[in-house]
């Protein structure tokens, strides 16, 4: 008996002792990490900083990035990086609430306006530091004033700095049709919804891909529609046929028309589009699994059997991304369709240029940073356009060639099996890094980007006609107050749970005519009117300040 009780007691004591030890080790370790000890006083002359980056999972370890080593070198800093590529959302709350954050936090939306508002005093206001230490940031603010707008909070503080990546296309979504199938069946490329319907019917009933099986063609397919809103590669771009210009793909339906903020999910024209999609779905022209497949399945449908295409009409970023290596030649990018031959509506599309090229809050600094000058020096280096292009495409040398005449070219992947997109994400921070690619920078783009821009040509005409002042909601440039942001997101959550479920139901089962009025009433109840009012207020405010 004694033996056992002593055993338990000793075990308990031992454990407490061990916990004690570990706590000593723990705090010792922490202090070593903190910049306090080595920060200003370090004999080596290099300032020590800590930083956290939320990076893409493919991206190689930061210590292997040549450009970053050089940047740290020239800024005279040595950074201890914590690299996170998954579950940041779950980690973030506890990390911020503990008040114990690294000196720098890097990554698109890693921390955002809601966090600055919530965790007051945690982040450094850089308003006064920028003129002192960051001439490159100053220069960006001068050359592109909108980058300053993105960075400035309603009360004037600057907590997070933006990116401007300049070369990305005007829209995230392009529509593709299999022109080899059209030729095979002796059809013309559709220009209206009615013609599209006829073409899809032909794709369905005939053996368009010529493999002997008339039933394996999927006439139309689109990307999985999430429960929280719409997205890229989805048929919402067809709303352009009815004259609606989507703003940055209008994930939650908001768009602007002649200076008024509206939401298409309660618009008659949306009803018209959904009815058209239902007509296609009922006739078996849309992939019957379109609402249940995941992205991987959608992707593999479009890639067919390698050499035999399976999909007739679909949406995507670029042809080789959507259709793989063999099939892109079969497909052509189409200009926006008219609703019908007699329609005289001015066509439009999804205007996403700002969303594609600007974003705020790419890098933020802790208010507790010991050596703020050093941190600013590092930030300043990142906003040098020559560094910026390396942030985006990779290091000079392996990824980018210096042509010697002040211009640069992005090189093809060193690994021939890899496509340029994957290569870029493997090599460097990519789109998730802070950067400023000044308009004066001369850079030849990699083939995948060049291809996407070429495929955007059919959309060019309508995209160029979009008037940013009257027909675009400048979401990327607007900073909401904490209360407005919270109201907007709660209301949108409610609105989307009604609208997305109904969208899927109406497309697959129909019934939009009968249910439309009841639907409008329940959308009202979700807080949509309040959201339109809030957004109109910010829109008007933005326009009056910037025009």
């Amino acid at each position: 008996m004694k033996k056992f009780s002593t055993l338990i007691l000793t075990a308990c004591l031992a454990l407490t002792a061990m916990a004690g030890c570990s706590s000593d080790n723990g705090s010792g370790g922490n202090e070593a990490n903190a910049p306090a000890e080595n920060g200003s006083g370090g004999g080596g002359g290099k300032a020590q900083l800590t930083a956290l980056i939320v990076k893409n999972g493919l991206t190689k370890p930061l210590k292997e990035m040549e450009w970053l080593q050089k940047v740290e070198e020239s800024a005279g800093v040595e950074i201890k990086w914590q690299e996170i590529s998954s579950d940041w959302g779950q980690k973030k709350g506890a990390l911020l609430a503990s008040g114990d954050i690294p000196d720098l936090i890097v990554g698109q939306g890693a921390v955002g306006d809601a966090d600055y508002a919530q965790f007051t005093g945690l982040f450094q206001d850089m308003t006064e530091l920028i003129p002192q230490y960051a001439p490159n940031v100053e220069k960006m603010f001068e050359e592109m004033p909108v980058t300053k707008t993105i960075s400035t909070q309603p009360d004037g503080q600057i907590y997070g700095l933006p990116k401007y990546q300049r070369f990305w296309p005007g829209s995230g979504t392009r529509q593709y049709i299999n022109k080899q199938w059209l030729d095979e069946l002796g059809l013309d490329a559709p220009t209206t919804w009615d013609e599209l319907y006829a073409v899809l019917e032909a794709f369905k009933s005939k053996d368009a891909n010529g493999n002997g099986d008339p039933n394996d063609e999927i006439p139309m397919d689109f990307a999985p529609v999430g429960t929280g809103g719409f997205g890229f590669f989805q048929p919402t771009v067809l709303l352009g046929s009815t004259g609606i210009t989507l703003s940055d793909a209008s994930f939650q339906g908001y768009f602007v028309e002649d200076g008024t903020v509206k939401n298409f999910v309660t618009d008659e024209r949306y009803k018209q589009m959904v009815a058209f999609l239902h007509k296609c779905y009922a006739a078996g022209l849309i992939n019957p699994e379109v609402f249940t497949q995941d992205y991987a399945k959608f992707q593999s449908n479009s890639r067919g059997d390698g050499t035999t295409a399976k999909v007739g009409f679909t949406f995507g970023w670029g042809a080789s991304d959507r259709f793989g290596n063999e099939l892109p030649a079969q497909y052509a990018s189409l200009p926006p369709l008219k609703v019908s031959a007699s329609s005289d509506v001015e066509l439009s599309w999804s205007y996403d240029y700002n969303h594609m090229n600007y974003a705020g809050n790419m890098i933020a600094m802790s208010a507790k940073t010991k050596d703020k000058a050093a941190a600013m020096r590092f930030i300043n280096e990142l906003y040098n356009p020559v560094v910026g292009m390396q942030v985006l495409f990779g290091s000079l040398g392996p990824n980018i060639k210096d042509n010697g005449d002040g211009s640069y070219s992005v090189l093809p992947p060193q690994d021939p099996k890899m496509d340029p997109g994957t290569w870029k994400w493997t090599s460097t921070w990519g789109d998730t890094g802070p950067m400023y690619l000044a308009d004066s920078l001369e850079l030849d783009l990699p083939v995948d980007m060049a291809e996407v821009l070429a495929e955007e040509e059919p959309l060019r005409e309508v995209l160029d006609k979009v008037d940013e002042k009257t027909d675009y909601y400048p979401g990327p440039f607007i900073k909401y107050s904490k209360d407005d942001l919270s109201a907007l997101s709660l209301n949108n959550k409610n609105l989307m749970s009604v609208a997305m479920a109904k969208f899927a139901q109406w497309v697959t089962k129909g019934g939009i005519e009968a249910e439309w009025d009841a639907y409008l009433a329940s959308c009202e109840k979700t807080g949509l009117p309040q959201n339109l009012e809030i957004m109109q207020k910010y829109y008007d405010d933005y326009q009056s300040k910037n025009n």
């Binding site: 338990i8 454990l15 916990a19 570990s22 706590s23 999972g57 890229f232």
Partner: protein, 296 residues
Amino acid sequence: MGLAGKSNELVFKIGLFVICSLIFLVIAYPLYFIVIASVSDSTLVSTGKVLLFPKGVSLFGYKEIFKDERIWQGYGNTILYTALGTFVNLLFTIPAAYALARQEFKARRVIMLAFVLTMFFNGGLIPTFLLMRDLHLTDSMWVFILPFSVNVYNLIIARTFFENSLPKELYEAAAIDGCSHLRYFASVALPLSRAMLSVIGLYYLVAHWNDFFTALIYIRSNHLQPLQVVLRDILLSNQVFANGIGLGGDLGGYAQRYADQIKYGVIIVSTLPILVVYPFIQKYFEKGVMIGSIKG
């Protein structure tokens, strides 16, 4: 046994055989599917071409998983956390369960209620995080071992077992001989409870093995990361393009093609070691273990 009894027995056996075969098929096929999917071309898997035999066989997924040097350290860490953690769990849980099973222990109802309440009410992530930080448990291996080392659910199961499966006369007899609780617990109750100990041990062991949340929230250093976090990182890294445009950039087809292989491979890599442990535990569920141990 009469003829009717025999034919009944036969019907019973045939029925049992049919049912067991059905259960086996229904459960085994999807498991088999995971194995073949982990070596087949993902496109063929997602288009339903891989049903009975692997197709487009490649070991890319496994290569990709084992290419990550962190994985071996992850294995090592997980084995350490699991072994030590399970030991501490049992050390804290089983004696408490025994004490709370004793009818004459007056405080037991209050203590049990206090324990059960914690299954429902908790302070939330932020206060817990602050506590761990103040105890210097963040970014330390002890965060896997000390906090929450008593799982109330397991405690209740162990207590129920002590209450119902130990013959009451045993303790009474022992008490008359002047045997104390601690001695009775160590020399009678524990040896008689091997089946329960192995179940609770298995529950704790698997919980430690599968736990990634603790590491996710409390661990920053790479060298302390357990296997599940490493695997989850590999898994999610390879699905970055699964959500389409995601970060506003272009997409990679190269990574996508094998993402699913990795997905299925990860399951096998993380489950195999547990599969090895199970038979050792299983033998304690055989009929009559308890009586055997009394005699022995």
